[in-house]
Subunit: 336 residues, 2 copies
């Protein structure tokens, strides 16, 4: 089988030279272990930080180690009483075609998928971390109430392409997305359930925000951070909630170039909240989240958009593409 | 009777010339109204914003109007079935010796005090807005858990002088206060239940924070905002909570001079929360809060510190003193 290992550490954005595609034997399994065949692997911006050991919640990665990553897989052989061949699982598979999994080890956060009537690829997106993240941000952190106004940045991305649907399912009124470029902005309105789109690359964001939110912003789901968040602060309503989900505008910038926020006092004036969160702090509720999202998909309230590359060999390209804003929807690579 | 009216609007910090002490007749009461005699009046930084009509939750104040303010009073005459002469009440009395109160008008937020075995002055502090604010910030917003590390700024002020006690009552471990000057810092440790004190006027705040929080900060109760908050962000732990209670460092500064926050990204890295709150959003729970705080006072867990000036004529001085950092403890004026 094939697997991707870390060849060297990136300086800023990764390049293809930081990865090496290797041959390796299909693993042998022991007691209470599974052999699984990878169906899809996801990519997430945080993976760049895995490569430099800057993500405290992930195990250190040495040169030559298989790249960390979650995916959805089919059980081929099981020596664990809770799993059988043919079961669909999510786990930290790593960037490889087959993986040995110890479901009892909490690090791998392995679980059997519940809603197997839906496509396996949803085990990367809507029924996995990006869907859970959209749900947690809108429902647990922002507690969207029917009729509220909602803004999402990075709205065409993996999480953002679901956040608008989630807001709407919770009863939000005006739901506006920010994305880069006319194609993505068009997708927001025609495919992703947004009422309006703002193109941060070609439009004046402040003016467009004022135009789209004449009565202010109740909820902001932020995937971007930086200047746009600072502008949004000027328009928040009393007791507004801002979910800080990602900071893609700053991941590649040195600390000295990080945005300095001038409008933070608006939080105080408006008795508002700015809260960051992490999907893995909610593992105890993943089964509940999977079922909620699966039901919304069946009811047509959530229509997952996927950006699928074909073949394990395209993993580095898929990750780098996130930073170049190439994907609309949940980025993934089909392996099996 | 005497009352203070707005004589002119302040430009920056108020001066004595912005107020005028007048004579007025004791009010006559109608059906479902009370005549009360003011015992104590409180002062709060926000009153400066009342004078310029910048506090959206308060009624506009015209030149010649009686200054807005809450106090504790004794009922002298009642034409309301729920109140009798001798009852102790809290209400928006205004800066006057006697007031007519309509308890049914929610604007005045009038309620009968429950714990009348305790001194009437506590109806300005620990059993009123400043005590409730300390409790809400620590318990509802920050949800202090036993053993957590807690920092409070403005720790010798009306709210801060109670926040340390509240944190300790909730089981906090290391509780550190920031205040200005050696006298206040000494009070924090000898009188106000803090484990350590940082003097922002004479000490290097960053170094002292690092020294006092070798394992990071779990909870920050912020009465000050600005540069100190930015420093604190560098030391917050995973899932830290910051309650934004006041911004006294900026109330008198033009927007252009407000602090620009460089370290806000730390919220994202640490999955932390920054939340502002307003005591009047919790009115439905004031009776519960009063009883909790009264019990802590009886148990010796909360030892209220009061800064009492004598006589209605000293109201302007009491308010201006808040901005000059003159008070330690809850600032109030004894009237009756």
């Amino acid at each position: 089988m094939r697997q991707w290992v870390l060849a060297s550490r990136p300086d800023g954005l990764a390049t293809i030279d930081n990865f090496r595609l290797e041959e390796a034997p299909v693993p042998e399994i022991g007691d209470r272990e599974l052999l699984v065949r990878t169906l899809y692997l996801g990519v997430a911006p945080v993976m760049l930080r895995y490569m430099t050991n800057e993500a405290s919640f992930e195990r250190p990665l040495e040169i030559g180690d298989v790249m960390h990553g979650r995916g959805v897989a089919e059980v081929i052989a099981s020596r664990h009483p809770d799993f059988r061949p043919g079961d669909r699982v999510q786990s930290k598979l790593g960037w490889r075609e087959y993986a040995k999994i110890a479901p009892d080890d909490p690090y791998f956060l392995t679980y059997k998928m519940r809603n197997t009537d839906l496509p396996a690829s949803y085990g990367i997106g809507s029924l996995a971390m990006s869907g859970f993240t959209a749900l947690i941000g809108m429902r647990e952190i922002c507690q969207v109430v029917p009729g509220e106004t909602v803004l999402v940045s990075g709205a065409a991305g993996g999480v953002g392409s679901q956040a608008g649907f989630v807001a709407r399912a919770l009863g939000a009124g005006n739901v506006v997305g920010i994305a880069g470029g006319p194609e993505k902005c068009s997708l927001l309105m025609t495919r992703l359930g947004y009422d309006a789109a703002i193109d941060y690359k070609s439009e004046n964001v402040r003016e467009k925000l004022e135009e789209n939110f004449p009565d202010g912003i109740d909820v902001y789901f932020d995937n971007v951070f930086g200047e746009v968040l600072d502008e949004v602060l000027l328009l928040i309503n009393r007791r507004a909630r801002i979910a800080l989900c990602g900071r893609i505008s700053e991941y590649l910038k040195p600390v000295a170039e990080h945005h300095a926020f001038r409008n933070l006092g608006r939080l105080g004036l408006q008795d508002a909240k700015l809260e960051a969160f992490f999907v893995y702090d909610y593992t105890a509720r993943f089964a509940e989240f999977e079922d909620i999202l699966a039901n919304w998909i069946r009811d047509g309230k959530l229509n997952p958009l996927e950006h699928v590359l074909e073949g394990l060999e395209r993993m580095p390209e898929a990750l780098i593409g996130l930073y170049e804003g190439r994907n609309a929807g949940v980025a993934m690579v089909r392996i099996g």
